[in-house]
């Protein structure tokens, strides 16, 4: 039914003059900020382990779905810009791109507050953006400029935003999982009703630290939600070659789990909302997000030696998160095709402006090599174990 309505729309769209004249500007503005609730069914049901799956009907609103579209388009654009910046050698080292997985970042943000903590691995650009990070800060950090979110000292794998409770940004696979449980512990210690989302990948799901941390989290009832972003490949190794049991949501054993279609932003939102309520009442829960990345593991991986191009383009055609939201917006008459294209153009311009601005921003001073080694304390001067030269006095 939705599809037939869609085809009707597209026929009308072939004649642009009618569409733009048909929608008066007042109506357009009204729709884009409309917060009246709409209920949408997720396409794929949830699979649960040791808990009752949440309902498939997601409560949302037109403005929220439009914001999904805009945010995901911005993330997608940012990753593509990062791709071309890497190829022109302005970004060096490792650059892990998140395009294809944007639904996870936006869906999660929609379900939680900025006081709930998120910690993730090195594929963190879009999560940073979702937490309120600025495009300029992201690009500056990628290009090693002072303006960057970590002053240019972290790089692609070390984005942090403390005021939005975004704890990074970690290079070692799986090392962020105990950190995330520590964040949850601190939340429990301070008795505030917030939760921590600890994101890791299908590759990290085989780390011992995950099971150690799960044990502690379950033992102490920590408000920790462990989210496995299953994009089916741990760098070049497919899940069926690395895990005896690829049902990552069941691997928690005594910890409840939920498997979610990670390409559907609304399903992600529903699952995260459910998980937050669960974690605050009953302790940890594992979420497995079934998602996919279009790029290779990083920019040095073409991404085609361990999977076929047909597979990638197949997912892009059938499951792409942005296209799904676009269809939703069009079928529910929330926006027109042209409006969405305009939005994408705006986003593209935003990203291009941010890139240009970041390119202009200065590199860190040489003295910054030694700043932030230690916190100003005990009058410590930062110049290494032998106090040879006084590089910086942390006054």
């Amino acid at each position: 039914m939705a599809l037939s309505r869609l085809s009707l729309r597209s026929n009308r769209l072939l004649n642009p003059s009618t569409t733009t004249a048909a929608l008066p500007s007042s109506l357009r503005r009204h729709v884009s900020t409309d917060t009246t609730p709409i209920t949408i069914e997720t396409a794929v049901p949830f699979e649960s382990h040791l808990c009752d799956a949440p309902s498939r009907s997601v409560e949302t609103s037109s403005s929220e779905i439009l914001s999904f579209f805009r945010d995901m388009a911005r993330m997608r654009r940012m990753e593509i810009a990062a791709d071309s910046l890497y190829k022109s050698k302005l970004i060096r080292g490792f650059c892990h791109l998140y395009d294809g997985q944007e639904a996870l970042a936006v869906g999660m943000e929609a379900a939680i507050t900025r006081k709930d903590a998120i910690i993730t691995s090195y594929r963190d650009h879009c999560t940073f953006l979702g937490r309120g990070g600025e495009l300029v800060d992201a690009f500056s950090e990628l290009m090693g400029r002072k303006r960057g979110c970590s002053n240019g000292k972290g790089g692609s794998m070390h984005f942090y935003k403390k005021d939005a409770c975004f704890y990074g940004g970690h290079g070692i696979v799986g090392a962020q999982i105990p950190l995330g449980c520590g964040l949850a512990f601190a939340q429990k210690y301070s008795k505030e009703e917030f939760v921590t989302f600890t994101l890791y990948g299908d590759g990290a799901a085989n780390q011992g630290q995950l099971f150690e941390a799960l044990n502690i989290a379950a033992l102490w009832d920590l408000p920790a939600i462990l989210v496995c972003e299953n994009n089916h490949y741990g760098m070049g190794t497919a899940t069926w070659r690395s895990a005896k049991s690829p049902a990552y949501f069941k691997r928690g054993d005594y910890v409840p789990g939920l498997k979610v279609d990670g390409m559907d932003a609304l399903a992600v939102k529903q699952a995260c909302k459910f998980a937050k309520e669960h974690a605050l009442k009953n302790g940890p829960i594992v979420l497995e997000m079934d998602t996919y990345r279009y790029h290779g593991h990083s920019m040095s991986d073409p991404g085609s030696t361990y999977r076929t191009r047909d597979e990638v383009s197949g997912v892009r055609q059938v499951r792409d998160p942005i296209e799904r939201v676009r269809k939703l917006l069009l079928s529910h008459d929330i926006a027109t095709e042209k409006e969405l294209k305009d939005m994408e153009k705006e986003v593209r311009k935003e990203v291009d402006d941010a890139v240009a601005q970041a390119k202009e921003s200065p590199v860190p001073e040489p003295s910054e090599l030694f700043t932030n080694m230690y916190v100003k304390d005990c009058g410590v001067e930062s110049f290494g174990a032998d106090r040879k030269e006084l590089k910086v006095t942390l006054a």
Binding site: A117, I119, G148, C149, S150, N151, G152, K153, G154, G155, H158, Y160, K161, K162, Y167, G168, G169, H170, G171, I172, A175, I177, P178, L179, G180, C181, G182, L183, F185, A186, Q187, K188, Y189, S190, G208, Q209, E212, A213, N215, I216, L219, W220, T371, N372, M373, Y374, V375, K376, D377, C378, G379, V380, E381, F383, G384, A385, D386, R387, K388, T393
Partner: protein, 402 residues
Amino acid sequence: MAARIHGGAATALSTFNPKKLVAPSRTNLPAARSSKRCIVAGGGSDASKKSLSVRHSQKLIANAAVATKAETSATTGTGHELLLFEALQEGLEEEMDRDPHVCVMGEDVGHYGGSYKVTKGLADKFGDLRVLDTPICENAFTGMGIGAAMTGLRPVIEGMNMGFLLLAFNQISNNCGMLHYTSGGQFTIPVVIRGPGGVGRQLGAEHSQRLESYFQSIPGIQMVACSTPYNAKGLMKAAIRSENPVILFEHVLLYNLKEKIPDEEYICNLEEAEMVRPGEHITILTYSRMRYHVMQAAKTLVNKGYDPEVIDIRSLKPFDLYTIGNSVKKTHRVLIVEECMRTGGIGASLTAAINENFHDYLDAPVMCLSSQDVPTPYAGTLEEWTVVQPAQIVTAVEQLCQ
């Protein structure tokens, strides 16, 4: 050089009495404190040192004030006597009383009271949420402590033995040491990682490791080693109050040292070395348990007519090159006595630092006595030869002072 040292050990073994090894030299301690006063007050040219001594508004760091009070307490007896592990416990308890963000996590620290009784009674007083018994997963609970510290808690992470913390090395190196830097200063990690290490009494190779060398290159952390109940309590408190991650090395054989410490609150400076015995002929740098071997050797040396200056460096990272440098300028000879591994150990770094900075003042090459580069054997006699013995120290001093 190695052959000579072994020769010394072989001949000295017959006169060697292992039971006397860890007896503290009580006569030296009051003198130590008065000398400490000289160092802090006399540090005129180095402005940073001045700021060090007035760092805390409570003036607890002003060692000068403590030194005078300590002298009176030593003479009038207004301090209280306790064992080193009790001093650590006192320091920890006072800090936990003072700041609700301080919590302890480790294996068997809560209901069991700590494997070396450092956290005894704390779980009853502060509850299970502040004194956490963790399962045996060093990697995970060290990571958890660091994650909690990122939000503002101040965990004290106890490794039951420093050797077990090797399992958490990734967390300590990458997250604990580096997060402040890679986040551009956004996160501070005020953790204290502490635990006993060093060679004990026939505990076997894996439980007798000397790991200061492994941790010393990690950028972003501070390392201190305590050796007396006085500095144990002071360093514990300073480490907890510090905003930087601090690794506090204790020693398995020093937990039962008894000393009188002041009743009033005091903190030791994390980066400062302690002058144990001022002297003129040679500077002996040491830390942790080897301090007692050195003091024992010092008795012999004094009888033979030498006047060694003994400094307990305490701060393993960064080195207190100010105190050490002043001493080198005075005596022109340096002997480093440590329990760390020979290769890449604290002594090796210290030798390099002294050579780089004070080469003009040296009359003889810096000599470094470290433990042997072997896994600690179980057999008692072999274990004795693994670490530096007082007789070897005496021989080395005689060689250097020829």
